[in-house]
């Protein structure tokens, strides 16, 4: 041992190359060792729930920066790093994710996108909500403006996912979840959407409640458009059910005798009360226009277009006001179609015959009261009569052979007179028209069949 001390005094010259070895070791090994420690530190933290984790290694010291979701999580992350082999010191610069009070999360939908904003408790929750939004609103851009915060109420995920589903039922609007209370506003995309959302909200997890549900139903719109160029009546929008649909289709077929009817109506709930009672007279008014549009929205009937002659405008307004249900608002924007060019009496006769071949003036059975469904046809006859102001016209009534001849004679005269009165009321001079009744004396078809009888019951216009 004594020798060892003696010799040790002569060991110093080796310190010079040793210093060189140390310098080389330090120079060569530092960076790889830091990289190795960083990789193993990151791997060790892989299963720890953190946000914005950053590991910096200087020598064997690790600087740990992250946002933790709980104090325990933060401590355990530091402990994990301290247990990584080779780590000398852990400089803990982690902090807790800020607490939100109240914890507010929201989803807003407009035409182009859905924006999720506010607070989300965990990155996994954020991901779930974004995925759910993308699945619910395929094709709509989903914008993420959520930030991570502590303080979410229990079962936040379930409640927020349910609300994301409801956003899919909105045309536009906003859903806000503030702690445990839900506020909804906006407009449902479809009829019945508002009710579907209200029903779904009953499945909110325990503890959550709806503070305000201001979701509006979309307007209940029925629309009909009469186009004289394509000779088409197009009906679109909603009807309450299939029965009402059939009734409206039948009424349109009676009132629009010459037009092709395009029926794009869909059955949907949410119709205003007495919908049918408002739509049928409004269709009658539309049938009297040359071109026009009818829009029935909630409890409002709006009709616009061109009447065939001056006197028709007040008549249409008056009949709409009389026939529409109480509480409904009627708006008319009617003008008069420019008068057509005058024609020869011969052309007039041809126009009358063509028109009456397409449609017949109808009366109540056994009576001389004109069926309101024939108003459109009569207006067209009046328009023709106005084009040959010098021609005198016989209006001839005919019946089928059922019943007594005297009754049929009287009925045919009364019906011809009723039509004449209608024309005079429209402003035509009474002297131009002669009402004639022929009873069943001039049949145009066999009176043995119902079809033949229907053809025999007629009004003819004969230009003299």
């Amino acid at each position: 041992m004594h020798g060892l001390f003696r010799w040790s005094s002569k060991w110093w010259p080796g310190v010079i190359p040793l210093a060189i070895v140390w310098a080389l070791a330090a120079w060569i090994s530092t960076s790889p060792m830091e990289a190795d420690l960083a990789a193993r530190s990151n791997a060790a933290l892989k299963d720890t729930l953190l946000d914005q984790t950053r590991i910096e290694v200087s020598g064997r010291d690790v600087t740990f920066t992250a946002n933790a979701f709980s104090e325990d999580g933060r401590r355990s992350a530091v402990a994990v790093l301290q247990s990584v082999a080779g780590v000398r010191l852990v400089n803990d610069e982690s902090r807790l994710v800020p607490e939100a009070k109240p914890f507010v999360w929201s989803a807003e939908r407009d035409v182009a996108r859905v924006t999720l904003s506010g607070n989300s408790p965990l990155p996994a929750t954020k991901g779930k909500l974004l995925d759910a939004a993308r699945a619910t609103l395929a094709g709509v851009e989903v914008v993420d403006q959520m930030k991570l915060s502590r303080g979410a109420p229990p079962r936040f995920d379930t409640a927020a996912l349910l609300l994301v589903e409801q956003i899919g039922k909105l045309k536009d609007g906003k859903v806000i979840l503030s702690d445990n209370s839900v506020t909804l506003s906006g407009m449902a995309r479809d009829l019945g959407g508002r009710e579907a959302i209200a029903a779904a909200l009953k499945n909110l997890p325990d503890g959550f409640s709806v503070a305000a549900n201001d979701i509006k139903a979309p307007p209940y719109v029925f629309q009909a458009n009469k186009d004289p160029v394509t000779v088409t009546l197009t009906m679109s929008g909603y009807v309450p059910d299939n029965n009402v649909h059939a009734t409206i289709a039948a009424a349109a077929a009676r009132k629009f005798f010459g037009e092709k009817i395009v029926d794009n109506l869909k059955a949907s709930m949410g119709a205003p009360s007495r919908f049918l009672n408002a739509v049928v007279p409004a269709l009658g008014a539309l049938s009297r226009l040359s071109t026009g549009t009818l829009v029935v929205t909630d409890r409002e009937v709006k009709i616009s277009g061109d009447a065939l002659y001056e006197a028709a405008v007040p008549q249409i307004r008056a009949s709409l006001a009389k026939d529409s249900p109480e509480g409904w608002q009627i708006k008319t924007e009617l003008s008069v179609k420019p008068a057509a060019a005058p024609v020869d009496p011969g052309v007039c006769q041809q126009l009358f015959s063509e028109l009456l071949a397409k449609g017949k003036i109808r009366f109540e059975p056994g009576r001389a009261s004109i069926d309101p469904d024939s108003a459109g046809l009569l207006d067209r006859l009046i328009e023709i009569a106005m084009r040959c102001p010098t021609a005198n016209i016989d209006i001839a009534g005919h019946t089928d052979a059922d019943g007594e001849d005297a009754f049929n004679q009287a009925l045919s005269e009364k019906r011809a007179q009723a039509v004449t009165d209608y024309l005079v009321k429209a402003g035509l001079p009474a002297g131009r028209f002669t009402a004639l009744g022929y009873g069943s004396s001039q049949p145009v078809a066999s009176n043995d069949t119902d079809e033949g009888k229907a053809q025999n019951r007629r009004i003819e216009f004969l230009v003299r």
Partner: protein, 98 residues
Amino acid sequence: MGFLVIFNWSWLLLSVLLGFAMGWIAVVHRGRGVSKRTSQWLALLAVAVVAAALAHLIPGRPGYWLDLAMLIFAMYILGCAAGSWLRERVLARVTPTS
């Protein structure tokens, strides 16, 4: 410490070999050694350095380099001791026969 040894084993082995060679030579070296007083000062310095390393007083890379220096120096001393001891044993066996 285990990590440092495993990670820098090649440098440490080099230090041991260097120490062994120096120890081997030191036994027959005729030059002047370090004075006793200087040795005491150096020993005190070594203790201070070891204390600083154990207390983690120096942070970051310099701290690592200090740990590495300490370890390399320790290996060197061990090598020196082994070299001197073995040389002394070899000389002791050879001398009586000559």
